[in-house]
Amino acid sequence: MLDGKTKNASTNSEQVEKTIKAFKSMLLARAFEDKMIALYRAGKISGGVFVGRGQEALSASCGISLKRGDIFAPLIRDAAGKIAFGEPVIDGIRTYLGSRLGPMRGRDGNVHFGRPKEGILAMISHLGAMISAVNGCLMAKRMKGETGFVGLASIGDGGTSTGSFHEAMNQAGVERLPMVVVIANNQYAYSTPNSRQFACKDLVDRAIGYGMQGHTVDGTDLLACLDVVGRAVDLARSGGGPQLVVAKLLRLSGHGEHDDALYVDPNLKKSPIGRDCNVVAEEILINNNWANRNEIEEWKTEFATQVESLVKQVVQEPQPDSNTEDWCAISSRNLMDTFLNNEHHLS
């Protein structure tokens, strides 16, 4: 098992560039999600809003460690990772606001979106289900003779209790896929603490049972996350088989914005895992002279402005219309079942 505690910052310029890019993804994700929260509170969003506050460093490290041609299956707290992987932030805005121009065209909402053709799978809500889908993508790539690709799937501590998770982890091991599964142990699955979720000492101990190599990391420390996730991705890419990364952090929000999360242990909030990873990353950049406070404030303003302007654009975009909606769930239109009676009444 590798233990990532990166306190000595590298001065390699490529590394610095990567760190700044990851940090900017974290800031943009935070700006995007803060705006979604504001819109939710103003009653402008149907359904819930789910944010990745406190998990941006880990998520961004996942997205930035992947390349074009890789497969990424993010979950609900991965806005930073998706942005770092290259997904335009407007996709999320359009999905939350139900724009017909968005990737889901109002048919699915909030965090359920992606660009599957570009390697970002669109999650379903059932936890663990996306891991085997990534496995299948990787099996297909291997059958097609592609090389040098990797897959990465996110999951939380709660998601590790599903049968789907277990089946997919075992499958990745059996097929010895270039797969990285990253567990963000944010201490609570909705309101359920780790103590009611699993009985093993540390989730990373499961790695050996799946034939995987295990890694742990402080999920609040951007440099550690970049290092450990990056190493796991490199190992998988270079034929080292599937990798499991377990990051310890704290969800700095409710499960969704409807949830005040009063159940969170105050001691955890005060503990090292309760640190805001964005603030920690800011200090890292400043202390290493990779950016100064003014620059960072400018970036924050820039991203907030960018998000504001995208929201202004998206609210002007067409919404789905039930009259012109294509109510057909299959692509083979000639095989669409017809329920004539309903259609008579509508016409």
């Binding site: 799978l121 669109a122 889908a133 496995n135 299948g136 499958q171 299959i330 095989l335 079942d337 004539l340």
Partner: protein, 321 residues
Amino acid sequence: MSITYLEAIRAAQERALAENPNVFIYGQDVGEFGGAFKATKNLAKMFPGRVIDAPISEDAIVGAAVGAALQGMKPIIEMQFADFSITGFNQIVNHAATLYWRTGIPCSVVIRLPSGGTLGGGPFHSQSLEAIYAHYPGLIVLTPATVDDAYWMLLEAVEIEDPIIFCEHKYLYYHLKAEKISEKDLPIGKARIARVGRDATIVTYSAMLHEALAVANELATEGTELEIVDLRSVKPIDTDTIMASVARTGRLLVVGESWPWGGVSAEVIARVCCEGLSLLDAPPQRLNSKDTPIPYHPNLWGSHRPTAHSIMAAVRNLLNL
């Protein structure tokens, strides 16, 4: 030289693998062993790396198929028994079936379900699950009843870009033989008039077709002519063919091996009543299995699902209504 229903399924898969480089088969024991029923016999040897043994993980099997389809592959999944597809149910109905609607990307997978009862199968190796899959939008559910349909519908299914639930009947695997595979006639989505008649219509599918045909042949000796509609596909249902038959006969019995609550028989009757109540000369009838788990002992199993005997009784009742 004759060919069984099972051999037709194997032959269709062999042809699909030979003709389409994107096709691969994934399922438990399908590789060197050739599958629990030998539906993939020798295929692993003939197509190295494309007939892949899976762990006993129905959820992950279907999940992987969804991923592979996203990458342009065409997976054929063999569930060892239809009953076990329920452990992969979530991936089928919530992932595969919703993908096109949500993302605009079709999910091109074929999931083969060895379905239906055989002697001694018992509660967990006998189920017919077409109705629960047909209930979900986004799936196409096929129920071939003949050797030709087993062959041609499976080949056609491989070409369809949407998720297919291919319900192949285990009783027919060995019991149903044809001299050879005939030329392809009807496409998926069309029901077949399996027998022309004038006195009553039986709408059925899969193994029950053969029970119904036996009844029709017996009644013909009494001068009663039953028309029999083989649905072939339960989603979509070819309502037009059903309605046209009912218009000719005025009487309808729907026979299905699966459980009575809801289901294909209820759906067919609902459509006929909603669209063509005036075509009926008598209340439409249905015959399904009993509303219990499927029994193990032959004495019980023989009465649990419809048989020629119970179909005959139902037809006589229908003709007297």
